[in-house]
Each structure stands twice: as C-alpha cells, then as structure tokens.
Amino acid sequence: MSEARANILARLRAARRGAVPDRPDWTPPAYGPDRLARFRAMLEAVHGEVIEVTSATWTERLRTLLAERGVTTAMAAPDLGLDAAWAGRGPEVVAYDRPVEAMKDRLVHDIQAGITRARAGIAETGTLVLWPDAAEPRLLSLLPPLHVALLRLGTLADNLSALMAEQNWAAGLPTNLLLISGPSKTADIEQTLAYGVHGPKELVVLVLTDL
C-alpha cells in the first residue's frame, strides 16, 4: 500500500515541473441593501419558501406553518424552547438526543419536520449554511420531509467568498459543513424536476429580521 504511495509520488515528482500560475482577480457579486431580496428570489426560484419573522413572532409563525401542513411530530433542539413557547398547543417536539443508531427508525419513518438553526446565509445563491453539532445533528436537515431553518438576517452574506473570509473557515471546519439551497430535487427523468427525492420535499426559511 505505501509502495503504491511511493510509486505514485515518485512518478509525479519525476515529471518536468510547469509554472504555477497566479490566481487572477475575481470579485463575486455584492447586493448592498438588496441582500434579502436577492436571497429570497434565488431560494424561491428553486422551490424554497422564505418567511420574514422576528424573535417575538417566530415560534407562533412556526406553529401555524406546521399546523397547516398537518405536522404532528417535529424534531428540534430543546434549547430552541419550542415546548415552552407552544405550551401544549403545537406538535410533539422530539429531541435528537441519542446516537443515530438508537433514533434511526423514528428519523426515517416518523419525524415529519426537522427544525434547525442556520449559521449563516448567502444572498448570491439563496443558500443556507449549516454547521451541524450535537444539538442539531446532520440528519435533522435531511431525513424529515420538511426542513424549517431559522436564519438571522445579520448573518446573511453577499457570497461564499466573503462569508468564508469573514468567519475564517480555514482555521477550523466542523465535522460536516453544509450549504443548502432548496429542497432535495432531481431532474434525472427527462430533465423534469421532482422534489423530495431523498431529502426534504419542502424547505422553509424563517428569517429573523431583528437579529
């Protein structure tokens, strides 16, 4: 095995070296005051829904949107405080508080909605940035048919380059970093779009405009 490594590297090293070109300048677009409008337009174009809320209204808005969709079992991190906010008027809220091996059945078959925070948003492409962690694991935004994400308006960046630089991603990445732009989709059958092929059929973003 390490023989393969040595052989491959030796062959690559034996080659005549070429020039290493510089990276030419490239400036991705910025949107100024139209950031949110751009984010909304891009996400809606790929079948995502964007709803503006505030830190005072979001739990109630979330409750009604889940009710409209007939959701009876949702999954969310306990520190979001949904149980307290809904006081028994909302759907059952399950925490993803055990390893997936113990949760697999519920996750694959029962949970109708996954609720997560987004670490940031990207206006250019209508993208959510998720850093899954112990409270909001990776599959929470993937297995349930509905994904609702909370995005603080203040974290909305113009583009990926700006965001990476601002948050210094290169200094330390999480186990899994996700860029999510819309619900799961496919066009493999005659280029006809179909949603929810393996992941969520629906993506709703609640934008907290006061944060």
Binding site: M1, S2, A4, R5, I8, L9, R11, L12, A15, R16, G18, V20, P21, D22, R23, P24, D25, W26, T27, V46, Y96, D97, P99, V100, K104, V108, E124, G126, D133, A134, P137, R138, L139, L142, L160, S161, W169, A170, L173, P174, T175, N176, L177, L178, L179, I180, S181, S184, K185, A187, D188, I189, E190, Q191, T192, A194, G196, V197, H198, G199
Partner: protein
Amino acid sequence: MGDFTARAPKALNDPTLRRNFRRAMDGLMAKRALQFQDRDAWDALRARGAAAKARVVARLPELLEQLEARLTANGIRVHWAETTAQANAIVLDILRQAGARTVIKGKSMVSEEMELNHHLEAHGIAAIESDLGEYIIQLAGEAPSHIVMPCIHKNKAEIAALFAENIEGLGYTEDVDELTAAARRALRGRFAEADAGISGVNFAVAETGTLVLVENEGNGRLSTTLPPLHIAVMGIEKLAERLDDLPALLALLPRSATGQPITTYVNMISHPRRDGERDGPKAVHVVLLDSGRSRVHADPELRDTLRCIRCGACMNHCPVYSRVGGHTYKFVYPGPIGKILTPQLEGLDCAGDQPHASTLCNACVEVCPVRIPIADILVRLRAESIDPSGSAAVKGAGSMRKSLESLTWKGWALMHSVPLLHRLGTWALSRLGNLIPAAALPPLSTWMRVRSRPVFAPKTLHELAREKGYGNE
C-alpha cells in the same frame, strides 16, 4: 483497437435515442447559457477557476502529501492505489474488516472506472446505487451514458416500464413525481440497512483536509452520513489547494453542468463522527486512485487534461456526442473529455479510435470552465497514435500507424518538396484525376462514403496564372 466508426451508425439510426439526446442536450445548453450571459464576469470567473486547477496540476505531488497529512490529522484514513484492481482490493478489505454486507452508493465516476459494483458483488457484497439516474441504469443493467446525468439516454416511458417491472407494488406510471416517490420508498430502507456508504469526491481541499461533494438529491449526504462507515474514492487530481479556491470552482461546476447557480447540497466532510456527535460515520476512508493519471501528468501539454472538474459541458455541446450518445464511445468517460482522457488512461492501443471521433469544431473548448485545450490535445493524440517512434508519452503511441497511410503522406511530402514532381503530379491530376474510380478504390472509398467527390479543374492554378501573365514572383 476500438471501432467507434462501426458503432456510430447504430446510434445514428435509432430515432428514439436521437430524440432523447437532442432534447436533453438542447435543454442543458440553454440553461447553461442563461448562467453566463455576462461575458466579462464569465471570463473572470473562468480564469480564476482554471488557475485554481492549473495550480493543483502544477503542485500535485506536494498537495497530495498535504492532503494526506490533513486528512490523517482529521481522523480520516488515506489509501493509495496505483491501479483500479488495487483500489478495488482496498475497498473490499475495508468492508470486510468492518464486516459489511451491504453498501449504499452515491454517484462516482471513479467507481465506474473501477467497476467497483461488479467487484463487490463477485465477493458477496451488494452495492446499491442511490442517485436516481444511477439507480435506474443499475436496474436496467446498463452503464452511464453521461457523466452528470447517467440515464439521459432513457425517456419516461422506458423508465416507467423498468420501474413497473422492478419495484414491488408499483404499476406502470409515467408521472415523474410518482416514479421519484417510488424510488425514494424503495431506497429509504436500503439506506437504513446499509453497513457502509461509498461516494466519489468533487474536490478534496488540501489546506483543510476536507472532502467536498455536490449533489441535488440528498442521496450523497445520506450515503456519507447514515451508514457507520464511509469510503470515498477519488482520482489523484481531484484536489483544490485552498478553501478559498472553492467559491470559484463551485460557481463554475453546477452552472456549466446543469445551468444551476449552485447544487441543492454542497456537503463538506472534514472528520468522522466525533465524541458527543449523534450521527455521521464513525470511520471515514479515502482511496486515492492513480490508474494512469501520473502518466498523463508527466507530459507538460497533456497534463492540462487533469484540470477537468467533470462538469459534462463539453459533451452537452459536442455535435458528435449529442448525435451518437454516450454508449457509442464504449468507455466510462464519453464525449470530448473521454476522447482525450480515455486514450491517455487506457492507452492508444485500445482507445486509439477516440481522438478521431471528433470534428475539431472547438465547441468543447469554448465552454470548458477550466479552459482545457481539448482540441489541441485531440490533435496531439492523433499524432501520437501514428508516431513511428512510439514516443513514451502515451501508452500505445504509434499503434494506429498504417503503412499505406504513412506511405501516402510520404509521397505527398515528396511531391510538395520537389518542384518537378509537383508540376508533374498536378498536371496529371488535372487531366486524369476525374477518371479515378475513387468510390470503388480503397482507401479512397472510405473517404468518399460521406463526402462528395471533388472535381479537378482541367488546368492547374499554376497554368492559369501563367496564362494570365503572372510570373513566379
């Protein structure tokens, strides 16, 4: 020796296939064009992306070492394979040590190159494709016909029939939503049961030890998250030097491929599951496959091939690919990228027909997001294929050399370097050329099959010029 020319008529005379490809290619070209309407922005973005990949190719050995070091520090195991056989053995070994019986797969062209599914099946491990397109062709027992949209050669009716036959409880339906939902149901259980997930890699970032995978369906995320073990297979060229090379590359790849500004998911994996985390595989392995790539890298001109980010734009815009479809090429990578990559990986002795399956129209070069000079490389490979010295740059160089052909060109060269011969030759052709029974005379008959016969003028250009009083100056 391949025989593209012999296979092409079958595809050309298949109206369903022609229709399926025409519709798909027209759609993909139109959608891509909408993404790059601003010429200046496209030029700047493309220059940035091309430079990012050119840097990878130029610094490949040290970047591979850096990648290995970062991945290892992150807890991801790295394996090296010189050949596809070695890569298959490595994957099988990892699976066996984990006691894995079933594997769920995300889309990966390198795994097609390895014929990994066959290898695993032969050793009692079931590998299920989970990308919808790959799932469809796996059911049909076919190979992908496009590197991005593997079942592009099939229409709705063909897929409906295939599903009705293979998915329990599903009748014949051409409703795309129903077909998609049926595949989701059929595959959900497979994901939950799978002992391991296998995926490809779009970019491996040397700076941070991060595997970047792009996709729309979520099957790639499932394959790399739900099973307890994840194995990623990748060619040794699929690197990005730094994290901040990603924005340009990610802006180029999906827009060139399917006309999307970004894919639904960009999945960046840097570690196996860490203490306290609830999900994700507990072990992640990366297999770095050479399989001829280091030989491609050895040649300063040919190594540009290794910049490829597998967007498929070159095939979508290729007048040959769009008419004959992917299977006619008979190799894993079809279209323009295949025509330059396959002969270099497999050798001109078995894929020497590929560089000739081109009109050199340059459409691929115009759309390639990383500016690979595909046409120049095609011409170079054509020359290599008849190079009498059999230069070592490409395996099988010189293997397409035919003595009649080289004799003809030697005669041609002689005629054009000796004035007397030239005068004699052109005089003879102007008088007698029209009498040659070209249509019946090999090898001229092959040439004439698809071309109209040129008519020789009764007098040569020189004679006409002299009559008009022009001198030799």
